[in-house]
């Protein structure tokens, strides 16, 4: 039996690591390409201005990269240290993308990182440029594999349960790699990261323009970043639409939480802005919102690409809805308990070498296996994630994403068609948008991860079963140990970054 609060502390520890890690990764993913674009211009034109520009952004990239790598390693090993049961139950599948990430992506990044920074006068221009591109590609490949792994947790496919080993085993690698959830998650996450990086570059440049320094450098960097950011903002809307569609199909409870939707609806409207009613529960008939502005039909369209489609609400998903053939959580829990019990009986039959019972319980297990995780829940309402966190972070992400598209468009227009130095409001907005990029990006992950609670593996393994039976005190101590370390390193990074920005591109490398 797990200690009380152990799971919460384990969750907190992983959330801490993930949130800190994700403060650094998006910039790395996007800035890598922005640098590669700039160096390509340098190699094409031979213009030393672009070399200096590339080197400046590279310095900021390196400062950020180091701490991203540091926090990343903790995440990989925390699957083992804090989620040991999970590591066995799905390690046969989940471990593979992590190993592939190591072989295909990390080595590419780390090898060519050294060439990128120290090879300016040691290798040819072409090889150096190739190295810069390979660092950018390597970091994005790294994101691909970890996002494939994460997508599999949201939508487990390509495997079968083996009752002899009591774990899920991979039976189709390609199903895992190319699952629609994995594809949309990867595309949505990396494009949103490119936006974070573009906002960072634009914000830094706007600061220079507000200070009336590095003007040429700032304007040219802005054009590169705003073009990249604008294109990616359009793309992020398209990938976001596909993500929402996949969530509607695979994680309907998460979608309902994202929209604060308690009662299922046809012709469902999308909440643009809203304040949830804190008194609302699954059991009462209070209004869902204190205030909301809706876009008619948009939720049905977004979810199922049909303006009249029925979008199930939390009540339908928890208590069932016969009209729309939605099974209740209680029914799934019953089947889950049958699966759990069948596994026990199967093992007994194995020990007794009772072939008839082995076959019998294996069939029962297989018939009910897709509800295995429900067998470990205590009540139907347990399938509902924290609604307010999921709702507000989702809407914050969408609102900020819309603002970024507008901002990139304005920056491009005013940089190319007007004298942007005269538009202080726009420059101030650009500077203020740097942290907003991070807020939106973190909010996206909160939607994805909080929204799928209580599942470690959707429908198969609740987090309570996944945690290492380790003692709450151990996890608390390591939580504060790493919280302190990460915070110190974050302060160091921010201070160094600010100083380097203040020094500017003329400050050398």
């Amino acid at each position: 039996m797990m200690e009380e609060h152990l799971v919460d502390w384990s969750r907190a520890q992983f959330a801490l690591t993930a949130i800190y890690h994700w403060l650094f990764v998006p910039l790395t993913l996007g800035l890598g390409f922005i640098i590669a674009f700039m160096e390509t211009i340098y190699v094409k034109t031979g213009d030393e201005f672009w070399k200096k520009t590339t080197k400046f952004w590279m310095t900021l990239f390196a400062i950020n990269f180091a701490i991203g790598v540091a926090t990343g390693i903790i995440m990989e090993f925390e699957f083992g240290t804090n989620w040991a049961n999970y590591s066995w139950f799905v390690g046969d599948i989940f471990g593979a993308p992590l190993a592939v990430e190591g072989i295909l992506a990390f080595f590419m990044e780390s090898t060519f990182f050294a060439v990128m920074f120290f090879g300016w006068d040691k290798v040819s221009k072409g090889f150096h440029l190739l190295s810069t591109w390979l660092v950018a590609i390597g970091s994005n490949l790294s994101a691909l594999w970890i996002l494939v792994a994460n997508a599999w947790m949201q939508n487990p496919v390509g495997m079968k349960f083996n009752p002899d080993t009591v774990r899920n085993e991979m039976d189709n690698f390609w199903d895992i790699l190319f699952s629609p959830v994995a594809v949309s998650k990867f595309l949505h996450t990396i494009t949103s990261s490119y936006i974070v990086a573009s906002l960072f570059v634009i914000g830094v440049c706007a600061w220079y323009l507000l200070k009336k320094r590095e003007i040429q450098f700032a304007k040219k960097s802005m054009v590169v970043a705003a073009t990249f950011g604008f294109i990616m903002s359009i793309f992020v809307i398209l990938t976001g639409d596909e993500s929402a569609h996949q969530i509607a199909l695979k994680q309907p409870v998460k979608l309902a939480a994202m929209e604060g939707l308690y009662e299922g609806k046809t012709d469902a409207a999308l909440v643009g802005v809203g304040i949830l009613n804190p008194k609302k529960t699954l059991q009462n008939d209070e209004d869902e919102f204190l205030f909301q502005v809706e876009a008619p039909y948009a939720l049905s369209l977004l979810s199922f690409h049909n303006i009249h489609a029925f979008v199930p609400g939390l009540k339908d998903l928890v208590y069932g809805n016969e009209e729309y053939n939605i099974e209740s959580a209680q029914s799934k829990m019953d089947k889950g308990k049958i699966a759990v019990n069948a596994l026990k009986m199967y093992k007994i039959a194995k020990e007794e070498n009772n072939l008839i019972n082995i076959a019998k319980y294996e069939k029962i297990l297989n018939d009910n296996m897709k509800y295995f995780g429900y067998g470990h829940l205590e009540k139907p309402e347990d399938i509902v994630p924290p609604i307010s966190i999921t709702f507000y972070t989702f809407h914050l992400m969408v609102a900020l994403g819309t603002w970024f598209l507008v901002l990139f468009g304005l920056i491009l227009f005013f940089t190319m068609k007007r004298e942007i130095l005269n538009y202080r409001w726009l420059l101030i907005s650009a500077v203020c948008s740097i942290p907003l990029g991070y807020v939106a990006s973190e909010a996206g992950w909160i939607v994805a991860e909080v929204g799928r609670q209580p599942w470690a593996i959707q429908d198969l393994m609740p987090v309570g079963l996944a945690a290492t039976d380790i003692g709450t005190t151990n996890v608390m101590i390591s939580f504060f140990m790493f919280a302190t370390l990460f915070t110190i390193l974050l302060i160091a990074e921010v201070k160094i970054m600010l100083k380097q920005i203040k020094i500017g591109p003329k400050g050398g490398h």
């Binding site: 590419m108 040691k122 991979m170 151990n474």
Partner: protein
């Protein structure tokens, strides 16, 4: 191709790959060893220290990456080990992670203006990573032979049986002897690397001097480790997968796998020869010989503990909970898929070697480090 291998063959193949990665990781730990030599070799001279740090700084990520890959490969190929060891020996692994986290930022932040903690703190981080991190890794690896206190239940979920969560391993002379041996070996490799990579007589002379001392202490700990390894009992299993304690198991393994034993002897001799040639004949290229020697030595030790019907992660609490390559591995399908992915490893090693060659064609000099326009740590 790999589909036609039996599950046991795939398990053996993956243990060989894990062993190779372990060997490569031990070699790459010259970075950690070098970090503990910064004070001794620079003797407070900032330019020398910067030369040393820049020499290591161009390689530190390879060690970090190898550790990540080593972990990822264990996760994919032997997930029950991943769950049991990492979840059980919690504090040993957490401290190792802590030591590696502080390394990652130190190179980049150390000399940057406004770096919040100051240069000395980052240099302290590098020392902690190079000393405590390596010793803990050695101790963790030694438990592959000496065992740990855990129980694996019917569902293959593991339960650690001591409240010290892995720290109890630090009380074993056997474990500590490997930890200290690995630490000293990494210092020797670090010194050999500096001799090869830096064009400076003063640093070279100091590195040779440090190798002499470290080699003597290394041999002391390594021989203790070997003596205990060859005289202690080990954990073997029979055809029914029942684990037994077998006297002289690890010595017997070497004798029953003569090729592995021969490679082990060759590996140890290569390290000794590399050190001898560096000291006696002032050779500068012996990191290569020593590197191959270390890879062979460490790899064969892993092969010893994992092959020949040996439990590579024994349980001292419940013998039958001990992990073997058979009961802890991934499925046939996963091992097959991963084997195809592993075909890319030679390609990866080739581009690492090429990039390394390109970057190290010209050795680091004082002039390069004092050039204000170059990127440096």
């Amino acid at each position: 191709m790999f589909e036609n291998l039996t599950l046991l063959q795939l398990q053996q193949l993956w243990w060989i790959i894990i062993s190779l990665l372990g060997g490569l990781f031990a070699f790459i730990m010259f970075v950690q060893g070098g970090q503990t030599l910064l004070g001794r070799l620079s003797k407070g001279d900032e330019v020398y220290k910067t030369m040393l740090i820049n020499s290591l700084g161009r390689k530190w990520e390879l060690g970090f990456t190898t550790l990540v890959l080593f972990g990822g490969a264990l996760f994919a190929a032997f997930p029950l080990f991943y769950a049991t060891s990492f979840g059980g020996a919690y504090w040993v692994w957490m401290l190792i992670l802590f030591c590696f986290t502080i390394q990652a930022v130190s190179y980049e932040y150390r000399k940057k203006p406004n770096n919040f903690l100051g240069q000395k703190v980052y240099e302290g981080f590098l020392f902690v990573n190079g000393s405590l991190g390596v010793i803990l890794l050695g101790v963790a690896i030694a438990t592959f032979f000496s065992g740990s206190n855990f129980l694996v239940d019917d569902n293959n979920f593991s339960h650690w049986q001591t409240p010290y969560r892995g720290l109890e391993a630090l009380l074993s002379i056997f474990n500590l002897s490997l930890g200290f041996a690995l630490f000293l070996l990494s210092r020797i490799l670090g010194a050999l690397y500096f001799i090869n990579n830096i064009d400076n007589d003063i640093i070279r002379n100091r590195a040779v001097k440090s190798i002499k001392i470290d080699m003597l202490i290394f041999l002391f700990f390594f021989l203790i480790f070997l003596f205990m390894l060859f005289t202690n009992s080990g954990y073997g299993y029979d055809a029914n997968q029942v684990v037994h304690i077998i006297e002289y198991k690890y010595l017997i393994n070497f004798l029953q796998m003569p090729y592995v034993f021969a490679l082990f002897i060759i590996g140890v001799l290569m390290v000794v020869i590399a050190v001898f040639f560096t000291i006696r004949f002032e050779r500068t290229c012996c990191i290569k010989t020593a590197g191959v020697g270390v890879v062979l030595t460490v790899m064969t030790l892993f092969l010893n503990v994992g092959l020949n019907n040996t439990s590579y992660y024994p349980s001292t609490f419940d013998l039958q909970s001990s992990l073997t390559i058979i009961n802890s591995s991934g499925s046939h399908y996963t091992l097959t898929v991963m084997a195809y992915v592993a075909l890319l490893v030679p390609f990866v090693l080739a581009y690492i070697a090429y990039a390394w060659y390109q970057m190290d064609k010209v050795k680091i000099t004082k002039e390069e480090i004092e050039d204000p326009t170059g990127h440096k740590y």
